[in-house]
Symmetry: C2
Subunit: 159 residues, 2 copies
């Protein structure tokens, strides 16, 4: 019992400290670039942190509005690339009409299976892919910034 509570507390602390860490990363990035820390950017950052899985600019803007933050879509569209440049989120699923973003968790690199029928997106992890990627980049002396692996097709349920 004590152990369970302890674990909960530790977990909570971990989440809080992570949030603080990424927030100051963002602040540092802005300062270093001569950009300003504003309430709007803080709100966008906050909401992006809370989004689960993939999300798009439009949806984030909508949620902010629903929560009473009167932040324009333009600002959202202007802030998300900053978060990308800070390295806190990345954009994925380039095939769709909208831009999709997702959080970057260093421990959890994954790629996507995308069902063309139902639109479901399954994430998968494949350690050996990373090795091959590195090999290819070395061969061409190419410095990778972002690697996109997406398999489009038909998922088990839709068959």
């Amino acid at each position: 019992m004590r152990a369970v509570i302890l674990r909960l507390i530790l977990n909570f602390l971990k989440i809080v400290s992570m949030a603080l860490k990424t927030k100051s990363q963002f602040q540092n990035f802005l300062k270093q670039q001569g950009l300003k820390w504003t309430p709007e950017r803080e709100r966008v950052f906050q909401e992006a942190s809370v989004m689960e899985g993939h999300f798009e600019a439009e949806e984030l803007a909508y949620r902010l509005r629903k929560k009473g933050s009167r932040i324009s879509k333009a600002t959202v569209y202007r802030t998300l690339p900053l978060l990308v440049r800070t390295g806190l989120i990345k954009d994925v699923i380039h095939g769709e009409k909208h831009q999709h973003y997702e959080h970057i968790h260093e421990e959890n690199l994954h790629d996507h299976l995308i069902c063309l029928k139902c639109g479901k997106i399954v994430e998968f992890e494949e350690e050996s892919l990373t090795k091959i990627e590195r090999k290819v980049c070395a061969k061409y002396q190419f410095q990778p910034q972002k690697i996109l692996i997406e398999i489009f097709g038909c998922c088990r349920e839709c068959r």
Copy 2:
């Protein structure tokens, strides 16, 4: 000398027969779908066959116009997806603003290194990737239709 000429002729025949083959593939596809074979579709198909490397709808339309074919952009945009569905071309480079297409050569599956500085696209082939893809799809019982592997970054020359 005779051998060289012979090889040239054989090569020429190969190209011609390939062209005829893909053309009839397209015709069969249309018939089978209850769609019609038209001069416009033939011209788009022809021009797409001649395009080298990646190309986009806009460019193909421009070339047709330059060659005197008065084919509307709308028709080009409507025809390219048919060629994709026929399996003669596929779309790649989803990250850019425009849709990019390229030919499908069964013998030559490749992926892309895309330089974010100069925009150069280097194709690479990596046999072992295909194996892993198959493994992942098997694991999730996912039926792949299109696999997209793109590495964005900075090429040797731009560093």
